[in-house]
Amino acid sequence: MPKLIFEKNVPGSNSFSLPPGQIPNPAISKTIPAQFLRQEALNLPEISEVEAVRHFTELSTRAYGVDNGFYPLGSCTMKYNPKINEWAARLPGFAGIHPYQPEDTVQGALQLYYEMQEMLAEITGMDGFSLQPAAGAHGELAGVMIIKAYHQQRQDAKRTKIMVPDSAHGTNPASANVVGFEVIEVKSNQRGLVDLEDLRSKMTDEVAGLMLTNPNTLGLFEEDIQEIATIVHEAGGLLYYDGANLNGIMGVARPGDMGFDVIHVNLHKTFGTPHGGGGPGSGPVGVKAQLLDFLPKPITVKQGEEYRFNYDLPLSIGKVKNFYGNFGVIVKAYAYIKALGAEGLKEAGQHAVLNANYLRHQLRDDYHIPLDRLCKHEFIINSKKQAENGVTTLSIAKRLIDYGNHPPTIYFPLIVSEAMMIEPTETESKERLDEFVQTMRTIAREAAENPELVSQAPHKAVIKRVDEVTAARKPVVKWEAGVKI
Protein backbone atom coordinates (compact mmCIF):
# COMPACT_ATOMS: atom_id res chain seq x y z
CA MET A 1 0.00 0.00 0.00
CA PRO A 2 1.36 3.45 -0.85
CA LYS A 3 1.44 5.91 2.01
CA LEU A 4 -1.23 8.56 2.31
CA ILE A 5 0.03 12.08 1.78
CA PHE A 6 -0.65 12.74 5.49
CA GLU A 7 1.83 10.01 6.34
CA LYS A 8 4.48 11.70 4.23
CA ASN A 9 4.46 14.74 6.48
CA VAL A 10 7.98 16.13 7.06
CA PRO A 11 7.84 19.24 9.28
CA GLY A 12 9.64 22.14 7.65
CA SER A 13 9.88 20.50 4.21
CA ASN A 14 7.81 23.15 2.46
CA SER A 15 8.92 26.16 4.48
CA PHE A 16 9.63 29.31 2.56
CA SER A 17 10.13 32.95 3.34
CA LEU A 18 8.85 35.87 1.33
CA PRO A 19 10.60 39.21 1.20
CA PRO A 20 8.97 41.81 3.44
CA GLY A 21 6.00 43.40 1.67
CA GLN A 22 5.51 47.09 1.11
CA ILE A 23 2.00 47.01 2.44
CA PRO A 24 1.63 46.65 6.21
CA ASN A 25 0.31 43.22 7.21
CA PRO A 26 -1.80 43.47 10.37
CA ALA A 27 -2.02 40.48 12.70
CA ILE A 28 -4.94 38.16 11.90
CA SER A 29 -6.33 38.63 15.41
CA LYS A 30 -6.81 42.29 14.60
CA THR A 31 -8.90 41.69 11.47
CA ILE A 32 -11.00 38.61 12.31
CA PRO A 33 -13.14 38.31 15.47
CA ALA A 34 -11.75 35.84 17.99
CA GLN A 35 -14.72 33.46 17.83
CA PHE A 36 -14.04 32.80 14.13
CA LEU A 37 -10.37 31.98 14.60
CA ARG A 38 -9.31 28.31 14.62
CA GLN A 39 -7.74 27.34 17.92
CA GLU A 40 -6.24 23.94 17.08
CA ALA A 41 -3.46 23.42 14.54
CA LEU A 42 -4.56 22.84 10.93
CA ASN A 43 -3.88 19.20 10.14
CA LEU A 44 -2.33 19.51 6.69
CA PRO A 45 0.77 17.59 5.68
CA GLU A 46 4.02 19.42 5.09
CA ILE A 47 5.59 18.05 1.95
CA SER A 48 7.94 19.51 -0.64
CA GLU A 49 6.66 20.38 -4.11
CA VAL A 50 8.56 17.58 -5.84
CA GLU A 51 7.34 14.97 -3.35
CA ALA A 52 3.76 16.19 -3.72
CA VAL A 53 4.04 15.91 -7.52
CA ARG A 54 5.53 12.40 -7.21
CA HIS A 55 2.80 11.36 -4.81
CA PHE A 56 -0.03 12.30 -7.14
CA THR A 57 1.78 11.15 -10.28
CA GLU A 58 2.21 7.72 -8.70
CA LEU A 59 -1.48 7.59 -7.80
CA SER A 60 -2.42 8.57 -11.35
CA THR A 61 -0.62 5.47 -12.66
CA ARG A 62 -2.86 3.25 -10.49
CA ALA A 63 -5.95 4.19 -12.47
CA TYR A 64 -7.14 1.81 -15.17
CA GLY A 65 -9.19 3.04 -18.08
CA VAL A 66 -10.10 1.96 -21.57
CA ASP A 67 -6.96 3.79 -22.71
CA ASN A 68 -4.94 1.24 -20.67
CA GLY A 69 -6.52 -1.95 -21.93
CA PHE A 70 -9.52 -4.24 -22.30
CA TYR A 71 -12.48 -3.11 -20.20
CA PRO A 72 -15.47 -5.45 -20.84
CA LEU A 73 -17.62 -4.03 -18.02
CA GLY A 74 -21.10 -5.33 -18.84
CA SER A 75 -23.91 -2.78 -19.09
CA CYS A 76 -21.42 0.11 -19.04
CA THR A 77 -20.41 0.22 -22.73
CA MET A 78 -16.76 1.09 -22.12
CA LYS A 79 -16.00 1.84 -25.75
CA TYR A 80 -12.91 3.76 -26.77
CA ASN A 81 -13.51 7.52 -26.67
CA PRO A 82 -12.00 9.01 -29.84
CA LYS A 83 -9.59 11.80 -29.03
CA ILE A 84 -10.99 13.98 -31.82
CA ASN A 85 -13.98 14.52 -29.51
CA GLU A 86 -11.64 16.15 -26.99
CA TRP A 87 -10.27 18.38 -29.74
CA ALA A 88 -13.78 19.51 -30.63
CA ALA A 89 -14.73 20.31 -27.04
CA ARG A 90 -11.58 22.38 -26.63
CA LEU A 91 -12.20 24.60 -29.66
CA PRO A 92 -12.11 28.15 -28.31
CA GLY A 93 -15.58 28.91 -29.69
CA PHE A 94 -16.98 26.19 -27.42
CA ALA A 95 -14.52 26.19 -24.52
CA GLY A 96 -14.33 29.95 -24.12
CA ILE A 97 -17.99 30.93 -24.03
CA HIS A 98 -19.98 31.80 -20.92
CA PRO A 99 -23.51 30.65 -20.09
CA TYR A 100 -24.58 34.23 -19.37
CA GLN A 101 -23.60 35.43 -22.86
CA PRO A 102 -26.49 36.79 -24.96
CA GLU A 103 -27.93 34.18 -27.34
CA ASP A 104 -26.93 36.30 -30.34
CA THR A 105 -23.25 35.78 -29.49
CA VAL A 106 -23.39 31.99 -29.10
CA GLN A 107 -25.34 31.01 -32.20
CA GLY A 108 -22.87 28.23 -33.04
CA ALA A 109 -23.32 26.58 -29.65
CA LEU A 110 -27.09 26.86 -29.93
CA GLN A 111 -27.00 25.42 -33.44
CA LEU A 112 -25.03 22.45 -32.08
CA TYR A 113 -27.67 21.98 -29.35
CA TYR A 114 -30.50 22.17 -31.84
CA GLU A 115 -28.88 19.70 -34.23
CA MET A 116 -28.03 17.37 -31.34
CA GLN A 117 -31.70 17.33 -30.24
CA GLU A 118 -32.68 16.51 -33.83
CA MET A 119 -30.05 13.81 -34.31
CA LEU A 120 -30.90 12.03 -31.05
CA ALA A 121 -34.58 12.15 -32.02
CA GLU A 122 -33.76 10.59 -35.39
CA ILE A 123 -31.50 7.88 -33.92
CA THR A 124 -34.05 6.85 -31.28
CA GLY A 125 -37.29 7.48 -33.18
CA MET A 126 -38.58 10.08 -30.73
CA ASP A 127 -40.06 13.53 -31.47
CA GLY A 128 -38.02 15.80 -29.23
CA PHE A 129 -35.18 15.93 -26.71
CA SER A 130 -33.95 18.00 -23.80
CA LEU A 131 -30.19 17.89 -23.31
CA GLN A 132 -30.24 19.00 -19.68
CA PRO A 133 -29.88 15.86 -17.54
CA ALA A 134 -26.33 15.45 -16.30
CA ALA A 135 -26.13 11.64 -16.26
CA GLY A 136 -28.06 8.46 -16.99
CA ALA A 137 -29.92 8.21 -13.68
CA HIS A 138 -30.63 11.94 -13.89
CA GLY A 139 -32.19 11.40 -17.32
CA GLU A 140 -34.28 8.59 -15.83
CA LEU A 141 -35.42 10.87 -13.04
CA ALA A 142 -36.44 13.55 -15.56
CA GLY A 143 -38.21 10.91 -17.66
CA VAL A 144 -40.19 9.54 -14.73
CA MET A 145 -41.06 13.11 -13.68
CA ILE A 146 -42.44 13.63 -17.19
CA ILE A 147 -44.59 10.50 -16.82
CA LYS A 148 -45.92 11.78 -13.50
CA ALA A 149 -46.60 15.27 -14.91
CA TYR A 150 -48.44 13.75 -17.88
CA HIS A 151 -50.83 11.75 -15.70
CA GLN A 152 -51.35 14.67 -13.31
CA GLN A 153 -52.15 16.99 -16.18
CA ARG A 154 -54.82 14.50 -17.30
CA GLN A 155 -56.14 14.53 -13.71
CA ASP A 156 -55.38 10.84 -13.40
CA ALA A 157 -53.94 10.91 -9.88
CA LYS A 158 -54.65 7.25 -9.11
CA ARG A 159 -51.57 6.14 -11.12
CA THR A 160 -49.13 5.72 -8.25
CA LYS A 161 -47.18 2.69 -9.46
CA ILE A 162 -44.30 2.07 -11.83
CA MET A 163 -43.43 -1.40 -13.10
CA VAL A 164 -39.85 -2.55 -13.43
CA PRO A 165 -38.60 -5.98 -14.56
CA ASP A 166 -36.50 -8.06 -12.14
CA SER A 167 -33.58 -7.84 -14.57
CA ALA A 168 -33.57 -4.01 -14.55
CA HIS A 169 -30.75 -1.70 -13.63
CA GLY A 170 -31.01 -0.72 -9.96
CA THR A 171 -31.40 2.91 -10.95
CA ASN A 172 -34.85 2.19 -12.47
CA PRO A 173 -36.67 1.38 -9.23
CA ALA A 174 -34.57 4.02 -7.46
CA SER A 175 -35.63 6.77 -9.91
CA ALA A 176 -39.29 5.76 -9.69
CA ASN A 177 -39.06 5.75 -5.91
CA VAL A 178 -37.47 9.22 -5.80
CA VAL A 179 -40.36 10.60 -7.86
CA GLY A 180 -42.78 9.06 -5.35
CA PHE A 181 -43.99 6.00 -7.23
CA GLU A 182 -44.48 2.59 -5.70
CA VAL A 183 -42.38 0.05 -7.58
CA ILE A 184 -43.85 -3.23 -8.81
CA GLU A 185 -41.47 -5.92 -10.02
CA VAL A 186 -42.25 -7.87 -13.18
CA LYS A 187 -40.76 -11.36 -13.45
CA SER A 188 -38.59 -12.66 -16.24
CA ASN A 189 -39.51 -15.93 -17.92
CA GLN A 190 -37.29 -18.96 -18.58
CA ARG A 191 -35.96 -17.30 -21.72
CA GLY A 192 -34.75 -14.25 -19.78
CA LEU A 193 -37.45 -11.97 -21.20
CA VAL A 194 -40.36 -10.10 -19.63
CA ASP A 195 -42.98 -12.64 -18.52
CA LEU A 196 -46.11 -11.45 -20.37
CA GLU A 197 -48.48 -13.32 -18.06
CA ASP A 198 -46.90 -11.73 -15.00
CA LEU A 199 -47.04 -8.32 -16.69
CA ARG A 200 -50.73 -8.75 -17.57
CA SER A 201 -51.62 -9.94 -14.09
CA LYS A 202 -50.03 -6.90 -12.45
CA MET A 203 -51.20 -4.27 -14.94
CA THR A 204 -53.96 -2.05 -13.52
CA ASP A 205 -55.26 1.49 -13.98
CA GLU A 206 -52.97 2.47 -11.08
CA VAL A 207 -49.85 1.83 -13.16
CA ALA A 208 -48.26 5.00 -14.52
CA GLY A 209 -45.74 3.22 -16.68
CA LEU A 210 -43.27 0.40 -17.32
CA MET A 211 -39.51 1.02 -17.37
CA LEU A 212 -37.64 -1.26 -19.73
CA THR A 213 -34.18 -1.74 -21.15
CA ASN A 214 -34.06 -3.26 -24.61
CA PRO A 215 -31.81 -5.18 -25.14
CA ASN A 216 -32.22 -6.13 -21.47
CA THR A 217 -29.45 -6.65 -18.94
CA LEU A 218 -29.02 -10.26 -20.10
CA GLY A 219 -28.05 -8.84 -23.49
CA LEU A 220 -31.26 -10.25 -24.99
CA PHE A 221 -33.69 -8.42 -27.23
CA GLU A 222 -37.20 -8.23 -25.78
CA GLU A 223 -38.85 -9.99 -28.70
CA ASP A 224 -42.36 -9.35 -27.37
CA ILE A 225 -41.82 -5.60 -27.20
CA GLN A 226 -44.84 -4.78 -29.38
CA GLU A 227 -47.09 -6.95 -27.25
CA ILE A 228 -45.60 -5.35 -24.12
CA ALA A 229 -46.27 -1.88 -25.53
CA THR A 230 -49.87 -2.83 -26.30
CA ILE A 231 -50.46 -4.18 -22.78
CA VAL A 232 -49.06 -1.01 -21.19
CA HIS A 233 -50.79 1.43 -23.53
CA GLU A 234 -54.18 -0.29 -23.39
CA ALA A 235 -54.10 0.08 -19.62
CA GLY A 236 -53.32 3.79 -20.00
CA GLY A 237 -49.68 3.59 -18.95
CA LEU A 238 -46.55 4.92 -20.64
CA LEU A 239 -43.50 2.98 -21.74
CA TYR A 240 -40.08 4.19 -20.61
CA TYR A 241 -36.88 3.23 -22.41
CA ASP A 242 -33.67 3.08 -20.37
CA GLY A 243 -31.05 3.88 -23.00
CA ALA A 244 -28.23 2.12 -21.17
CA ASN A 245 -28.15 -0.66 -23.76
CA LEU A 246 -28.85 1.41 -26.88
CA ASN A 247 -25.47 0.37 -28.29
CA GLY A 248 -26.91 -3.10 -28.96
CA ILE A 249 -29.48 -1.82 -31.47
CA MET A 250 -28.01 1.52 -32.57
CA GLY A 251 -28.68 2.29 -36.22
CA VAL A 252 -30.71 -0.92 -36.66
CA ALA A 253 -33.82 -0.54 -34.48
CA ARG A 254 -35.40 2.48 -32.79
CA PRO A 255 -37.13 2.58 -29.39
CA GLY A 256 -39.64 5.09 -30.79
CA ASP A 257 -40.74 2.54 -33.40
CA MET A 258 -41.17 -0.12 -30.70
CA GLY A 259 -43.75 1.98 -28.88
CA PHE A 260 -41.67 3.69 -26.24
CA ASP A 261 -42.98 7.08 -25.09
CA VAL A 262 -40.08 8.40 -23.01
CA ILE A 263 -36.37 7.62 -23.28
CA HIS A 264 -33.04 8.70 -21.90
CA VAL A 265 -29.75 8.05 -23.64
CA ASN A 266 -26.31 7.94 -22.07
CA LEU A 267 -23.96 10.04 -24.20
CA HIS A 268 -21.10 8.69 -22.04
CA LYS A 269 -21.92 5.12 -23.06
CA THR A 270 -23.38 5.02 -26.53
CA PHE A 271 -21.91 8.18 -27.99
CA GLY A 272 -18.25 7.87 -27.08
CA THR A 273 -17.71 10.35 -24.25
CA PRO A 274 -15.79 9.44 -21.08
CA HIS A 275 -17.40 7.82 -18.02
CA GLY A 276 -17.14 8.39 -14.31
CA GLY A 277 -14.09 10.27 -13.11
CA GLY A 278 -13.23 11.11 -16.71
CA GLY A 279 -16.76 12.40 -17.34
CA PRO A 280 -19.01 14.01 -16.38
CA GLY A 281 -21.89 12.12 -17.95
CA SER A 282 -24.84 13.36 -19.93
CA GLY A 283 -28.30 11.79 -20.11
CA PRO A 284 -30.57 13.63 -22.57
CA VAL A 285 -34.26 12.79 -22.18
CA GLY A 286 -36.50 12.34 -25.23
CA VAL A 287 -40.25 11.96 -25.74
CA LYS A 288 -43.00 11.30 -28.26
CA ALA A 289 -45.11 14.19 -29.55
CA GLN A 290 -47.83 13.99 -26.87
CA LEU A 291 -45.22 14.60 -24.17
CA LEU A 292 -43.17 17.38 -25.81
CA ASP A 293 -44.71 20.06 -23.58
CA PHE A 294 -43.40 18.33 -20.44
CA LEU A 295 -39.68 18.29 -21.36
CA PRO A 296 -37.25 20.10 -19.05
CA LYS A 297 -36.82 23.67 -20.29
CA PRO A 298 -35.26 25.44 -22.05
CA ILE A 299 -35.39 23.59 -25.37
CA THR A 300 -33.31 24.94 -28.23
CA VAL A 301 -35.46 26.04 -31.18
CA LYS A 302 -34.78 27.39 -34.64
CA GLN A 303 -36.65 30.56 -35.65
CA GLY A 304 -35.89 31.45 -39.26
CA GLU A 305 -32.10 31.46 -39.37
CA GLU A 306 -31.73 32.06 -35.64
CA TYR A 307 -31.39 29.69 -32.71
CA ARG A 308 -33.06 30.51 -29.38
CA PHE A 309 -33.69 28.95 -25.99
CA ASN A 310 -37.43 28.41 -25.56
CA TYR A 311 -38.53 28.90 -21.94
CA ASP A 312 -42.19 29.27 -22.84
CA LEU A 313 -43.27 25.75 -21.89
CA PRO A 314 -45.98 26.06 -19.21
CA LEU A 315 -46.31 22.30 -18.67
CA SER A 316 -42.54 21.67 -18.51
CA ILE A 317 -41.28 19.77 -15.45
CA GLY A 318 -38.90 22.75 -15.15
CA LYS A 319 -35.17 22.99 -15.12
CA VAL A 320 -33.32 19.89 -13.95
CA LYS A 321 -29.78 21.31 -14.21
CA ASN A 322 -28.21 24.70 -13.78
CA PHE A 323 -27.57 26.40 -17.11
CA TYR A 324 -27.93 24.01 -20.07
CA GLY A 325 -26.61 20.55 -19.16
CA ASN A 326 -23.04 19.32 -19.48
CA PHE A 327 -22.18 21.34 -22.56
CA GLY A 328 -18.65 20.01 -23.20
CA VAL A 329 -19.90 16.42 -23.12
CA ILE A 330 -22.63 17.24 -25.61
CA VAL A 331 -20.03 18.79 -27.95
CA LYS A 332 -17.99 15.56 -27.75
CA ALA A 333 -21.01 13.37 -28.48
CA TYR A 334 -21.98 15.64 -31.38
CA ALA A 335 -18.49 15.22 -32.81
CA TYR A 336 -18.80 11.44 -32.38
CA ILE A 337 -22.14 11.24 -34.20
CA LYS A 338 -20.96 13.52 -37.02
CA ALA A 339 -17.70 11.60 -37.42
CA LEU A 340 -19.46 8.24 -37.71
CA GLY A 341 -22.50 9.35 -39.68
CA ALA A 342 -25.63 7.22 -40.11
CA GLU A 343 -23.77 4.31 -41.70
CA GLY A 344 -21.00 4.45 -39.12
CA LEU A 345 -23.41 4.37 -36.18
CA LYS A 346 -25.13 1.34 -37.65
CA GLU A 347 -21.79 -0.36 -38.18
CA ALA A 348 -20.78 0.42 -34.59
CA GLY A 349 -23.97 -1.23 -33.31
CA GLN A 350 -23.48 -4.25 -35.55
CA HIS A 351 -19.86 -4.70 -34.50
CA ALA A 352 -20.80 -4.41 -30.83
CA VAL A 353 -23.20 -7.31 -31.36
CA LEU A 354 -20.72 -9.28 -33.47
CA ASN A 355 -17.96 -8.92 -30.86
CA ALA A 356 -20.24 -10.05 -28.04
CA ASN A 357 -21.42 -13.09 -29.98
CA TYR A 358 -17.86 -13.99 -30.97
CA LEU A 359 -16.77 -13.97 -27.33
CA ARG A 360 -19.85 -15.94 -26.26
CA HIS A 361 -19.08 -18.58 -28.85
CA GLN A 362 -15.42 -18.77 -27.89
CA LEU A 363 -16.09 -19.03 -24.15
CA ARG A 364 -18.90 -21.60 -24.16
CA ASP A 365 -16.64 -24.67 -23.89
CA ASP A 366 -14.96 -23.44 -20.73
CA TYR A 367 -17.75 -21.53 -19.01
CA HIS A 368 -21.42 -22.15 -18.39
CA ILE A 369 -23.64 -19.75 -20.34
CA PRO A 370 -27.12 -19.79 -18.77
CA LEU A 371 -28.91 -18.32 -21.82
CA ASP A 372 -26.74 -19.48 -24.68
CA ARG A 373 -28.34 -18.03 -27.76
CA LEU A 374 -27.88 -15.07 -30.07
CA CYS A 375 -27.26 -12.02 -27.91
CA LYS A 376 -26.96 -8.31 -28.59
CA HIS A 377 -24.09 -6.22 -27.19
CA GLU A 378 -23.44 -8.28 -24.04
CA PHE A 379 -23.94 -11.71 -22.53
CA ILE A 380 -23.76 -13.56 -19.22
CA ILE A 381 -21.50 -16.42 -18.20
CA ASN A 382 -21.20 -17.88 -14.72
CA SER A 383 -18.86 -20.04 -12.67
CA LYS A 384 -21.06 -23.16 -12.51
CA LYS A 385 -18.34 -25.31 -14.11
CA GLN A 386 -15.69 -23.92 -11.77
CA ALA A 387 -17.87 -24.14 -8.63
CA GLU A 388 -17.02 -27.82 -8.03
CA ASN A 389 -13.47 -26.69 -7.28
CA GLY A 390 -14.72 -23.91 -5.05
CA VAL A 391 -13.89 -21.17 -7.54
CA THR A 392 -16.42 -18.32 -7.59
CA THR A 393 -17.17 -15.63 -10.15
CA LEU A 394 -15.53 -13.10 -7.82
CA SER A 395 -12.28 -15.08 -7.97
CA ILE A 396 -12.34 -15.32 -11.76
CA ALA A 397 -12.83 -11.55 -11.90
CA LYS A 398 -9.92 -11.00 -9.52
CA ARG A 399 -7.70 -13.33 -11.54
CA LEU A 400 -8.45 -11.30 -14.69
CA ILE A 401 -6.73 -8.36 -12.98
CA ASP A 402 -3.52 -10.41 -12.83
CA TYR A 403 -3.67 -10.73 -16.61
CA GLY A 404 -4.05 -6.97 -17.12
CA ASN A 405 -7.79 -6.79 -17.83
CA HIS A 406 -10.46 -4.77 -16.14
CA PRO A 407 -12.89 -7.41 -14.80
CA PRO A 408 -16.40 -7.57 -16.26
CA THR A 409 -19.47 -6.69 -14.19
CA ILE A 410 -20.14 -9.44 -11.65
CA TYR A 411 -23.18 -10.57 -9.64
CA PHE A 412 -25.47 -8.60 -11.94
CA PRO A 413 -28.15 -9.04 -13.15
CA LEU A 414 -29.44 -10.46 -9.88
CA ILE A 415 -31.63 -13.08 -11.57
CA VAL A 416 -28.60 -15.12 -12.71
CA SER A 417 -26.62 -16.90 -10.02
CA GLU A 418 -22.89 -15.99 -9.94
CA ALA A 419 -23.31 -13.85 -13.06
CA MET A 420 -20.41 -12.38 -15.00
CA MET A 421 -21.61 -9.88 -17.59
CA ILE A 422 -19.30 -9.32 -20.55
CA GLU A 423 -19.64 -6.39 -22.96
CA PRO A 424 -16.65 -6.04 -25.28
CA THR A 425 -18.04 -3.10 -27.35
CA GLU A 426 -17.32 -2.52 -31.03
CA THR A 427 -13.99 -0.76 -30.55
CA GLU A 428 -12.03 -3.93 -29.67
CA SER A 429 -10.11 -5.72 -32.40
CA LYS A 430 -10.31 -9.45 -33.03
CA GLU A 431 -6.74 -9.75 -31.71
CA ARG A 432 -7.77 -8.20 -28.38
CA LEU A 433 -10.83 -10.43 -28.16
CA ASP A 434 -8.69 -13.52 -28.89
CA GLU A 435 -6.26 -12.47 -26.19
CA PHE A 436 -9.13 -12.23 -23.71
CA VAL A 437 -10.43 -15.65 -24.78
CA GLN A 438 -6.98 -17.16 -24.20
CA THR A 439 -6.82 -15.54 -20.76
CA MET A 440 -10.29 -16.83 -19.83
CA ARG A 441 -9.31 -20.34 -21.00
CA THR A 442 -6.12 -20.16 -18.94
CA ILE A 443 -8.13 -19.15 -15.88
CA ALA A 444 -10.58 -22.02 -16.47
CA ARG A 445 -7.58 -24.42 -16.60
CA GLU A 446 -6.12 -22.89 -13.45
CA ALA A 447 -9.49 -23.24 -11.71
CA ALA A 448 -9.42 -26.97 -12.51
CA GLU A 449 -5.76 -27.67 -11.79
CA ASN A 450 -4.84 -25.14 -9.13
CA PRO A 451 -8.03 -23.59 -7.71
CA GLU A 452 -6.14 -21.93 -4.85
CA LEU A 453 -4.27 -19.80 -7.35
CA VAL A 454 -7.54 -18.36 -8.64
CA SER A 455 -9.29 -18.17 -5.28
CA GLN A 456 -6.51 -16.04 -3.81
CA ALA A 457 -6.10 -13.71 -6.79
CA PRO A 458 -5.08 -11.02 -7.51
CA HIS A 459 -1.40 -11.76 -6.98
CA LYS A 460 0.11 -9.01 -9.12
CA ALA A 461 -2.05 -6.06 -8.12
CA VAL A 462 -0.76 -3.47 -5.66
CA ILE A 463 -3.58 -4.37 -3.29
CA LYS A 464 -4.23 -8.11 -2.96
CA ARG A 465 -7.58 -9.73 -2.16
CA VAL A 466 -9.57 -7.18 -0.23
CA ASP A 467 -11.65 -8.25 2.77
CA GLU A 468 -14.87 -6.89 1.29
CA VAL A 469 -17.02 -8.34 4.06
CA THR A 470 -15.22 -6.53 6.87
CA ALA A 471 -14.99 -3.41 4.72
CA ALA A 472 -18.79 -3.42 4.40
CA ARG A 473 -19.62 -4.49 7.96
CA LYS A 474 -17.07 -2.33 9.76
CA PRO A 475 -16.13 0.42 7.32
CA VAL A 476 -13.26 2.73 8.22
CA VAL A 477 -14.05 5.87 6.26
CA LYS A 478 -11.54 8.39 7.58
CA TRP A 479 -7.86 8.54 8.35
CA GLU A 480 -6.77 9.55 11.81
CA ALA A 481 -3.23 10.31 12.88
CA GLY A 482 -1.69 7.48 14.86
CA VAL A 483 -4.60 5.05 14.34
CA LYS A 484 -3.52 1.79 12.70
CA ILE A 485 -6.11 0.13 10.52
Binding site: G170, P370, Y411, F412, L414, S417, E468, V469, A472, R473
Partner: protein, 128 residues
Protein backbone atom coordinates in the same frame (compact mmCIF):
# COMPACT_ATOMS: atom_id res chain seq x y z
CA UNK B 1 -28.93 -27.21 1.78
CA UNK B 2 -30.72 -27.34 5.12
CA UNK B 3 -34.53 -27.08 5.12
CA UNK B 4 -36.35 -27.65 8.44
CA UNK B 5 -39.62 -29.57 8.17
CA UNK B 6 -41.66 -27.43 10.57
CA UNK B 7 -41.54 -24.21 8.51
CA UNK B 8 -43.43 -22.81 5.53
CA UNK B 9 -41.49 -21.32 2.63
CA UNK B 10 -42.16 -18.66 -0.02
CA UNK B 11 -40.92 -18.41 -3.59
CA UNK B 12 -38.98 -15.33 -2.48
CA UNK B 13 -37.04 -17.59 -0.06
CA UNK B 14 -38.53 -16.43 3.21
CA UNK B 15 -39.75 -18.85 5.86
CA UNK B 16 -42.53 -18.60 8.43
CA UNK B 17 -42.79 -20.43 11.74
CA UNK B 18 -46.27 -20.22 13.27
CA UNK B 19 -46.56 -20.24 17.07
CA UNK B 20 -50.11 -19.46 18.15
CA UNK B 21 -50.92 -16.01 16.80
CA UNK B 22 -47.28 -15.25 16.11
CA UNK B 23 -45.54 -15.70 12.80
CA UNK B 24 -41.74 -15.72 12.94
CA UNK B 25 -40.17 -14.68 9.64
CA UNK B 26 -36.69 -15.25 8.33
CA UNK B 27 -34.76 -16.13 5.18
CA UNK B 28 -33.86 -19.61 4.02
CA UNK B 29 -30.49 -21.29 3.89
CA UNK B 30 -30.72 -21.14 0.09
CA UNK B 31 -31.25 -17.36 0.28
CA UNK B 32 -28.32 -16.69 2.62
CA UNK B 33 -26.11 -18.90 0.47
CA UNK B 34 -27.12 -17.08 -2.72
CA UNK B 35 -26.62 -13.67 -1.15
CA UNK B 36 -23.21 -14.52 0.30
CA UNK B 37 -21.83 -12.58 3.25
CA UNK B 38 -24.64 -10.40 4.59
CA UNK B 39 -23.42 -6.98 5.68
CA UNK B 40 -26.58 -5.05 6.53
CA UNK B 41 -30.17 -5.73 7.52
CA UNK B 42 -32.84 -3.02 7.48
CA UNK B 43 -35.60 -4.04 9.87
CA UNK B 44 -39.27 -3.03 9.62
CA UNK B 45 -40.87 -0.60 12.08
CA UNK B 46 -42.95 -1.94 14.96
CA UNK B 47 -46.75 -1.81 14.62
CA UNK B 48 -46.49 -1.64 10.84
CA UNK B 49 -49.39 -3.37 9.12
CA UNK B 50 -48.20 -5.54 6.29
CA UNK B 51 -50.15 -6.95 3.38
CA UNK B 52 -49.17 -10.21 1.76
CA UNK B 53 -46.01 -9.82 -0.31
CA UNK B 54 -45.22 -6.29 0.87
CA UNK B 55 -41.69 -5.23 1.60
CA UNK B 56 -40.67 -5.40 5.25
CA UNK B 57 -36.99 -4.63 4.89
CA UNK B 58 -33.79 -4.89 2.91
CA UNK B 59 -30.88 -7.29 3.15
CA UNK B 60 -27.54 -6.27 1.72
CA UNK B 61 -24.66 -8.60 1.01
CA UNK B 62 -21.33 -8.08 -0.69
CA UNK B 63 -23.02 -9.22 -3.90
CA UNK B 64 -26.46 -7.64 -3.86
CA UNK B 65 -29.22 -5.78 -2.11
CA UNK B 66 -32.41 -7.81 -1.77
CA UNK B 67 -35.86 -6.72 -0.67
CA UNK B 68 -37.40 -8.79 2.09
CA UNK B 69 -41.04 -9.57 1.29
CA UNK B 70 -43.50 -10.66 3.92
CA UNK B 71 -44.78 -14.16 3.14
CA UNK B 72 -47.83 -13.54 5.35
CA UNK B 73 -50.02 -10.52 6.18
CA UNK B 74 -50.05 -9.16 9.71
CA UNK B 75 -48.74 -6.52 12.12
CA UNK B 76 -45.09 -6.30 13.10
CA UNK B 77 -44.85 -6.91 16.85
CA UNK B 78 -41.14 -7.73 17.27
CA UNK B 79 -37.94 -7.22 15.31
CA UNK B 80 -34.62 -8.93 15.88
CA UNK B 81 -32.38 -5.99 16.76
CA UNK B 82 -29.35 -8.27 17.13
CA UNK B 83 -29.17 -8.26 13.33
CA UNK B 84 -28.39 -4.55 13.25
CA UNK B 85 -25.09 -5.14 14.99
CA UNK B 86 -24.45 -8.65 13.69
CA UNK B 87 -25.99 -9.20 10.24
CA UNK B 88 -23.73 -12.24 9.83
CA UNK B 89 -26.10 -14.15 12.17
CA UNK B 90 -28.29 -14.71 9.08
CA UNK B 91 -25.39 -16.49 7.40
CA UNK B 92 -24.50 -18.49 10.50
CA UNK B 93 -27.96 -19.84 11.29
CA UNK B 94 -30.78 -18.48 9.10
CA UNK B 95 -33.44 -20.59 10.83
CA UNK B 96 -32.57 -19.77 14.44
CA UNK B 97 -32.15 -16.05 13.68
CA UNK B 98 -35.60 -14.79 12.73
CA UNK B 99 -35.92 -11.24 11.38
CA UNK B 100 -39.37 -10.13 12.51
CA UNK B 101 -42.47 -11.44 14.26
CA UNK B 102 -45.95 -10.71 12.91
CA UNK B 103 -49.22 -10.84 14.76
CA UNK B 104 -51.33 -13.10 12.57
CA UNK B 105 -54.53 -12.94 14.62
CA UNK B 106 -56.55 -11.09 12.00
CA UNK B 107 -55.52 -13.50 9.35
CA UNK B 108 -54.01 -16.92 9.49
CA UNK B 109 -53.58 -17.25 5.76
CA UNK B 110 -50.57 -19.22 4.64
CA UNK B 111 -51.57 -18.97 1.01
CA UNK B 112 -49.11 -19.96 -1.63
CA UNK B 113 -46.49 -21.13 0.85
CA UNK B 114 -44.60 -24.38 0.40
CA UNK B 115 -43.68 -27.30 2.61
CA UNK B 116 -39.99 -28.08 3.07
CA UNK B 117 -40.21 -30.80 0.47
CA UNK B 118 -41.91 -28.59 -2.10
CA UNK B 119 -39.47 -25.77 -1.38
CA UNK B 120 -36.46 -28.03 -1.92
CA UNK B 121 -37.90 -29.11 -5.25
CA UNK B 122 -38.52 -25.46 -6.17
CA UNK B 123 -34.92 -24.50 -5.36
CA UNK B 124 -33.67 -27.32 -7.56
CA UNK B 125 -35.47 -25.82 -10.53
CA UNK B 126 -33.59 -22.55 -9.90
CA UNK B 127 -30.17 -24.17 -9.89
CA UNK B 128 -30.09 -24.67 -13.65
Amino acid sequence: MHTPENLFYSKEHEWVRVEGNKGYIGISDFAQHQLGDIVFVELPELDLEINLGESIGVIESVKAAATLFSPVPGTIIEVNEDLEEAPELLNQDPYHNWIAVLDLSDSSRLEGLMSAEAYNAYCQTLES
